[in-house]
Subunit: 219 residues, 2 copies
Amino acid sequence: MAIIDEELTHMDKNSAPDSAPYHHGNLRASLVAAAIELLARVDGGAPSLREVARLAGVSIAAVYRHFPSKEALLAEVAVDGFARLNTRWRENLPDVAQAGAEQRFQLLGEHYVQFALAAPAHYRLMFEHQDLRRFPDLERAARDCFLFVLDAAAATVREAGADARWALPAANAAWALVHGYVMLSLGGRLTLSGATLDLPATLLPRFLRLPPEALPGPR
Amino acid sequence: MAIIDEELTHMDKNSAPDSAPYHHGNLRASLVAAAIELLARVDGGAPSLREVARLAGVSIAAVYRHFPSKEALLAEVAVDGFARLNTRWRENLPDVAQAGAEQRFQLLGEHYVQFALAAPAHYRLMFEHQDLRRFPDLERAARDCFLFVLDAAAATVREAGADARWALPAANAAWALVHGYVMLSLGGRLTLSGATLDLPATLLPRFLRLPPEALPGPR
DNA sequence: TGTACATCAGTGAACGCGCGTTCACTGATGTAC
DNA sequence: TGTACATCAGTGAACGCGCGTTCACTGATGTAC
C-alpha cells in the first residue's frame, strides 16, 4: 500500500510540469505499481518484463537499473502484497478488548479471503516463489503476516483457556483453511457437486475447531 | 493408475521383440506416462511438449496425432491424477461399518495429503486448468473425487446426528483445509514462524469442527 | 558564479533460446476383391 | 492366396513468436574547485 500511494503521488507531481522527463524519479516503485496493475487485468499469470516496462513508459533495459532480474521484481511485488494485507488487518481489525479474541480471529479470516478474492493474480504471486531464502524481504513480509495470525490464534487459545502450545498448530490450520478455500475458489473448484456454494464468511469459527477441546495438548 | 499400468504392460510387451517399431501401439498412454515421469523429476513446472515427446521416443509432431494441443495432453495428465487419487481411496479406506464414519473421513484426509506430497508437481497440475468446462473428462474426474469426499462427509454428519445439509459445506471446508495445507507445505510456507512444524496427520478431526455443533443448520 | 567531470539513469538494438504448432512427406496396416 | 488401395501413425524440417538479458551508448545531475 505504502509503495503505491507514494508512487501515485509522485506520478501526479511529475506529470503536471513536464510529461516525460528523461529521469523518471522513482522508477523502481513505478515498475512495481505497473506489475500490480497488469496482475489486476484479467487472464491471470505473471506479466512479462516487457509489458511492465511498456506500462511504466520506459525501455526494457531500464528495468535492470533497479532489479537484477525479473524474479527480483516479482518478489518485490509479492512483498507489496503481504504489506497490503498486513496494513488491511492493522487498520480494520478491532481490539481483542472490543470484540473478543475469537470474533477478531474470525474477522481476520474474512479480511484475508476478501483480500485474496479481490486481487487473485497478485495473491497467487505472493505464494509462487519456491525458495524464500533467496528473497529475505519477501520472507520477512510473509513472516510478519504469519506472526499476525499467530498472535490472533494465541489470543483465541488463551481466551478459551487452552494450552498455549496450541497456538502454532492452530494458526497453521487456520491459514491452511483460508488459503485452501481461496485457491479452490479461484480455480472454480467449489462448484463441483453441481450446487453453487460460497462458504459462509464465518468459515473459521464454524469449521475450525479452536482449540480442539477433546485433546490434552499438541502431540 | 489404470492408464499407466496398462501402458507399462504394453511397453514390456513391445520392447521384447523389436525395440522401436514404426507404429508405437499406444502412444497416447505413453505420452501421458512420460509427462507424469517428467513431473516427478525435480524443479516443478509443467514439462514442454518437446520434452514429453523426447522421453516417449517419438517426434514432436507425433503428439498431434493423439492430442489437439499441449493443453489437452496436460488435461489428460490431470485426469490421470484424479483417477489415481480415487483408486487410492477405494483400495485403502475401510468401510464405515469397520472404522466408523469419522475415522474413515480422517483417513481419507491423510491419504489425500500423502498423495499430494508424494507427487507435488502432478498434484499442482490437477488444479491448474482454469476453465474445467473446456475439458469435460477432467471436470468429471475432479467431480468424482469431490463426490467421494462428499459421501464421506455426509456419513460423518449423519453419524454425529446433525442436519444432513451440513454435508456439502463440510466437504468443501475439509477439502479447503487439506488443499491449503498441501499447497502451503509444498511452497515452504509452514515454517515461517521459525519453528519446524508438520501438522499432525490427524489434521481433519483435530481442527475441523464437523459438524459445527453450536449452530442449528447451514445458513 | 561558472566550469570540468564523475556518476547515475535512461535508450535502442540485438542476442540466443525454447517454445507450440504446422507442413508436406513416408512407412505400416488392414481390408475388399 | 495375392494384390491394389484407402487409411492411419509416424517423421523431419521449418514457421513465427515472445521472452529475459546484455551491449555500447547518451542525456541529466550534482559536486569540487
